[in-house]
């Protein structure tokens, strides 16, 4: 075992339920039992059966996290197929790898991921036309009974909606992008490849613990079948086969909505004294049944693997099965009879084995030999190799991306302050919705846009990419009411859209803290940490960057600063300061909270005669931050004179005209003449219309300032490229 030599990973294992003994659940418990001492594991599921986990030696060291339960009621099937995986996605924390089981966990867009579907959603593919429509004959409204594992009940879908449901689910089904798909048989691998158009080459068969079974020489006149009671398991055929066999009992182990129907069927066939349906049995009881039976019958339609077949072999009992499905890859005629799905054909083999016990015994012995080739140790090892391999590849990719970032860092990064707070249309959020802080005097060229709208985001990203920016600083406000939910939703959209359009831009959040509670800081940082996991988050020197809008109001507030420090640990924290930060004294005010300082609004700090001196002082005070970052900020001008906020009135520098671009040029020249290359350039701002610092194309200024920014970035890159 070489596992111990490897780095311990933080693995998330996601499975809809972990409360019953299906094939997928078996994989999970058997693997977790073997992985739990090698990696840190968190299992996410809607339901856990504690006893089931304990029975399989899953220790308390494995964390269990609950996911939202399945929707019930109208349209539940659709909600469970489309919405629920996205709900789960939001509930799953950060881990090194996401190993998901069953459908539709592949729609959880967390990476790197290894999806073990066990089977596609068969009701939209090969079983699409095998659904029960008996209600057509009886009810007023015709309904389809659709089964989605692991639910125990049917979703009843009205005929009018049925096709639309399935088409919708089929469409969404294809949107999942797991990094690797694993199949439980070659048959399933081909099936999955066909459905998802992605070659599936990883096949991991299940295992079985041969020594768990009681190998008795004798057997009783009992035939055993184990399956959940759904129509495609074809239990009906097994029951009907009993008509052709005298003196043999049939034990059916399983539960499901077909139970009552099957019992009635047995009664009508005069078999109720010989056919028994059992559920809720313990492992030991199932093993006892294997030990008692003459043979195991297994006849489902194209079972993806069919672990029952392997268990029959391990139990030393002959298998009578249909010649289809994954399990046929591991058996042959020495231990099994493969028959067509006909009651008489099944019965013939049962009779044969009843009358030829020696043959049955010999087949059982062969089965045991074969089963020994399939151990859970091997299964767990193979699956873990895949999981670790995917993680390794992902890490390699991340390292390459990191290297790219480092190259760009050497040249200096160009960022811009970006506001996400605008609602749609004049009069809505921040478009003249109030005079205190919402008034505007200019209009974007694209109109009074909604920040959250995808079209806005796409347009802005394209514009800023073309201008040459590397990153955006996304302002997120937190006040006594908590986080600004609209900004938060916008930021989420920005990350998702950037991912979709493969934008080269990166994004960092800027916290704007205004009289907020400590709980709000904790809450916001949980969300920012989740953003930091995204591919598009800004990293600098291998750490995510967090900007903090710093008015100075929290200076020397040791408790509040401690809270911020505690919850933003792991980030490179850069102050977007409204005040100067003399290097020698800064520690006394912010106690080393910041790794870097920048000016948010350099034009407000003094009269124009002192600008260069003030800016230079600030630029030279890089030691105020722990990392000594040199950051230069450029603004086109400043004017908030139309705002009626009381505090603003005391600002003597509230109106700094753009001077036909001269203000911008003065700042740009200051930046370009610096001997020491800046680490970061920041334009303040892209779209702060209240203070008229925006460079976004607008009615008043056209694209002029954006073009100037483009020229500045090009010149700066050229100047410092070779240094």
């Amino acid at each position: 075992m070489i596992w111990n030599e490897k780095k311990m990973l933080d693995l998330a294992i996601i499975i809809p339920e972990l409360a019953k003994y299906g094939g997928a659940e078996r994989y999970v418990v058997e693997c977790v039992q073997r992985w739990q001492h090698l990696h840190r594991i968190t299992i996410y599921a809607t339901k856990f059966d504690q006893a089931f986990l304990e029975e399989h030696g899953i220790t308390a060291g494995v964390t269990r996290m609950n996911l939202s339960p399945y929707f019930e009621g109208e349209h539940a099937m659709l909600l469970n197929a489309l919405l629920l995986p996205k709900v789960w996605e939001g509930q799953i924390g950060k881990h090194d790898l996401y190993h998901t089981h069953l459908w539709p966990t592949h729609l959880i867009d967390l990476h790197p991921s290894v999806w073990f579907p066990h089977e596609p959603l068969r009701s939209i593919y090969d079983l699409r036309h095998n659904q029960s429509i008996e209600g057509f004959a009886a009810g007023d409204k015709t309904k389809f009974d659709i089964h989605v594992y692991p639910k125990y009940n049917y979703d009843n879908i009205e005929e009018d909606l049925h096709e639309s449901y399935l088409r919708c689910m089929e469409l969404f089904d294809k949107l999942g992008k797991p990094d690797r798909i694993v199949a439980n048989s070659r048959y399933t691998a081909r099936y999955l490849s066909g459905v998802y158009g992605q070659e599936v080459t990883d096949v991991v068969y299940p295992g079985v613990n041969v020594d768990d079974f009681m190998h008795l020489q004798s057997s009783e006149d009992i035939v055993l079948t184990i399956a959940q009671l759904w129509p495609h398991k074809r239990i009906r055929l097994v029951i009907e086969s009993m008509r052709y066999v005298d003196g043999v009992q049939l034990y059916i182990v399983g539960s499901g909505p077909e139970k009552a129907k099957l019992m009635l069927m047995a009664e009508k066939l005069g078999l109720s004294d010989r056919v028994f349906i059992l559920d809720g049995l313990s492992d030991l009881e199932v093993q006892i049944l294997f030990s008692r039976c003459l043979a195991v019958v297994f006849v489902p339609i194209k079972e993806p693997f069919g672990i029952v077949a392997l268990e029959a072999l391990a139990a030393g009992r002959p298998l009578i099965a249909v010649n289809e499905g994954g399990f046929t890859e591991i058996i042959d005629e020495s231990c099994s009879f493969l028959v067509p799905p006909r009651p008489a054909a099944i019965a013939e083999k049962i009779r044969f084995l009843k009358e030829n016990r020696q043959v049955a015994r010999a087949m059982g012995e062969e089965g045991i030999t074969k089963a020994r080739n399939y151990t859970w140790d091997a299964t767990a090892s193979q699956l873990l190799t895949i999981v670790e391999d995917v993680h390794r590849q992902w890490s390699t990719h991340r390292i390459a991306a990191k290297a790219d970032r480092i190259d760009r860092e050497q040249e200096g990064l160009f960022g811009i302050q970006y506001y996400c707070w605008y609602g749609e249309g004049l009069g809505s959020l921040h478009w003249n919705d109030n005079q205190e802080f919402g008034a505007v005097t200019d209009m974007p060229t694209i109109g009074y846009y909604a920040s959250a709208h995808g079209s806005t985001v796409v347009e802005h990203l394209q514009l800023l990419e073309k201008t040459g920016f590397d990153f955006l600083i996304l302002n997120l406000h937190i006040d006594s009411d908590g986080i600004n939910r609209y900004e938060l939703a916008t930021i989420k959209n920005i990350f998702e859209i950037a991912q979709t359009v493969r934008s080269p831009l990166r994004f960092a959040v800027q916290l704007c803290l205004f009289e907020c509670e400590p709980e709000s800081i904790e809450d916001v940082m949980k969300r920012v940490s989740a953003f930091a996991e995204k591919e598009h988050y800004l990293y600098f020197r291998e750490k995510p960057v967090l900007f903090v809008f710093w008015t100075g109001s929290l200076d020397r507030d040791v408790n509040r600063i401690k809270i911020i420090d505690q919850h933003t640990h792991g980030f490179i924290r850069i102050a977007s300061s409204l005040r100067l930060y003399p290097g020698a004294n800064e520690y006394r005010r912010t106690f080393g909270l910041f790794h870097g300082f920048s000016l948010f609004s350099p034009l407000e700090l003094s009269g124009r005669e002192s600008w260069e001196k003030i800016w230079q002082d600030a630029y030279d005070s890089s030691e105020a931050g722990g990392l000594g970052l040199r950051i230069v900020t450029i603004s086109p001008g400043y004017d908030d004179s139309h705002l009626e906020g009381v505090q603003r009135k005391s600002n003597v520098h509230r109106r700094i005209p753009r001077e036909d671009g001269q203000t911008w040029k003065r700042m740009a020249d200051f930046a370009l003449k610096q001997e020491k290359k800046p680490h970061i350039f920041i334009v303040s701002t892209f779209n702060e219309y209240h203070e008229n610092t925006h460079i976004e194309p607008s009615v008043q200024h056209g694209s002029r300032y954006l073009e100037m920014a483009k020229g500045f970035i090009a010149e700066a890159r050229s100047k410092w490229h070779d240094r």
Binding site: M214, R243, Q249, G270, L271, D273, L278, L289, S291, R292
Partner: protein, 557 residues
């Protein structure tokens, strides 16, 4: 007040035979007549006369043959003749009609070694071939065996016997009234079977007419015990039915609706969950028994073997979806009839052991004289948790290497037998020769087992009363038992009970207990006091009380 026995409830399909046994000793033909329950004519049935060696009910080794006759039209009564020609047999119907279908074993079996054949009278539904009725009639071929069998029957039917220690009834009983004691199974050395036999002895010993009925019984006792299906035809308006309920009985519904006085003795139902892996068939019958239980309200008096059983009875009824309104629950039995339930231990003949001749236990390997013997007596069934006895003994034997475990009782299910043997062969192979599953033994050997025991040990997880606990107390053996509710009630604070099955701890405790004579004496002294009380409760008085309530509407004091 005139009572009518008319009922609209028909019993299940059944075949009645006018003979208690058949014999082909000197003659070559034996004729008998069959009659049928009315429900036979409501559907399409075939009668099958299916003959096996009585000691070997396997096909084809012990199978003589079968003869099928379609019951297309009402032929009631139906004469049947069995003919023996050398070693071959033939069955004809209606004196000379051949069977509609038949199978005769061509490998003519040597029946001369076999004193008795089992003639199964079978009804099969012709629509789906389901077997709906099967009853056995003995066909004697050997006169000596027949004589022995008849002598046993006469002995059982001896009306001059009485129950030692039982008190007599305190009221007059009408001579016209017969008490019909019914149970699904009546077999010797089975708790309910023993009670049924003792009840009959109690009644006949007190000059009361009594008749036993069962669906399953030793065919040698046919006549002494009649088929339950015959009860509705036998019963008269002044009779009293004493029904022992423990499992599904296809006749129960028809009996519950008979318009005569009825007492129901509820012995409890074994939880099906505990049985399913070893016998889904039996477990299924227990499940169906739950569904029949609401009919208890049609009985005049309810007897139960313990308060624990009564609580279980109420719990089952409260969950039963078929419970039809308030009259179904036992409290309402009391309300409606002015009667309350009667708790009565399920045994009468507590002092019988004095008369039992002790016999040595037949073991393949006798255990050492000084060895401590842990004894369990009872049905060897899954809910008795014999595997836990093995586990306890495994721990105990490490502390006391000379000790042995003796398990006495009929192994009920083949699957459970195989499971226990598997455990003995694999997990507890080192205890071979120390664990003895002796099966169903006679009373003489059982007496020896009790006398030789150091302690009575039980791991049972379901009991209604547990008569062997009383027997252990009678033999002054300390009881070390899992504290299942009924066990707690029977022991009433005596013995040494445990709530957790930590085998190592239990073994240690038992070992210390068996070494501490003073403590043992104390436990026995307490058990003796409890025994005295139990024997008083089982002196028959509570049976008389129940009959008095049921028959005369006598209210309890």
């Amino acid at each position: 007040m005139a009572r009518s026995l008319k009922t609209d409830r028909q019993g299940p399909p059944a075949v009645f035979v006018d003979r208690d046994y058949l014999a082909l000793i000197k003659q070559k033909k034996e004729a008998f007549t069959l009659t049928f329950a009315p429900s036979v004519w409501n559907a399409s049935y075939s009668l099958v006369v299916d003959i096996y060696l009585s000691t070997r009910h396997t096909h084809p080794e012990g199978h003589i043959g079968w003869w099928l006759y379609h019951l297309n039209q009402k032929e009631d009564p139906l004469p049947v003749t069995i003919e023996k020609r050398g070693s071959l047999f033939k069955v004809v119907f209606q004196k000379e009609r051949e069977a509609d279908a038949k199978w005769v074993n061509k490998a003519a079996l040597d029946v001369t070694q076999e004193g008795v054949l089992a003639v199964h009278l079978v009804l099969r539904n012709t629509e789906n071939n389901a077997l709906e009725y099967d009853s056995v009639l003995y066909l004697y071929l050997d006169p000596d065996i027949m004589d022995l069998s008849l002598a046993r029957r006469s002995s059982s039917a001896d009306n001059t016997r009485s129950i030692e220690g039982a008190i007599g009834r305190s009221y007059c009983w009408p001579r016209r009234s017969t008490i019909r004691v019914v149970a699904q199974d009546i077999r010797e050395r089975d708790a309910i079977g023993s009670l049924a036999f003792d009840l009959r002895t109690l009644f006949t010993g007190n000059s009361m007419a009594a008749q036993l009925y069962a669906n399953n019984f030793d065919p040698a006792l046919r006549g002494f015990i009649r088929e339950t299906g015959e009860l509705p035809g036998d019963v008269r308006k002044d009779d009293l039915i004493f029904y022992n309920f423990s499992i599904f009985d296809p006749h129960f519904e028809a009996i519950a609706h008979l318009n005569v006085r009825k007492v129901m003795y509820y012995h409890n139902i074994t939880p099906p969950r505990m049985l399913m892996a070893f016998s889904a068939e039996y477990g299924g019958l227990c499940n169906r028994a739950y569904q029949q239980l609401p009919l208890a309200h049609r009985f005049n008096t309810l007897l139960v073997n313990s308060h624990s059983t009564y609580r279980e009875f109420r719990a089952i009824l409260s969950q039963c979806p078929d419970t039809n309104g308030p009259e179904s629950c036992p409290n309402d039995i009391r309300d409606r009839f002015g009667l309350s339930f009667v708790v009565c231990p399920p045994f009468l003949n507590g002092r019988k052991w004095d008369r039992v001749q002790e016999e040595a236990l037949q073991l393949p390997v006798p255990f050492p004289k000084e060895a401590r013997v842990l004894l369990f007596v009872g049905r060897v069934a899954p809910h008795k948790k014999i595997e836990d006895l093995f586990a306890l003994f495994d721990s105990y034997n490490r502390l006391d290497p000379e000790s042995v475990l003796v398990v006495v009782g009929n192994i009920v299910f083949e699957g459970y037998r195989n499971y226990l043997e598997y455990l003995l062969g694999k997990k507890y192979n080192h205890l071979r020769g120390r664990i003895h599953l002796v099966g169903d033994i006679g009373e003489g050997q059982l007496k020896h087992a009790y006398k030789r025991a150091s302690a009575f040990v039980s791991m049972s997880e379901h009991e209604g009363f547990c008569v062997p606990l009383v027997e252990a107390m009678l033999f002054q053996k300390p009881v070390f038992a899992y504290a299942q509710e009924a066990v707690r009630e029977t022991m009433a604070g005596t013995g040494r009970l445990f709530y957790e099955k930590n085998f190592a701890d239990l073994a240690s405790e038992l070992h210390l207990l068996l070494k501490n004579k003073a403590l043992l004496d104390e436990i026995i002294a307490f058990q003796d006091r409890r025994l005295t009380r139990l024997l008083e409760e089982a002196n028959g008085n509570r049976i008389w009380q129940a009959l008095e309530q049921a028959f005369f509407d006598a209210r309890p004091f």
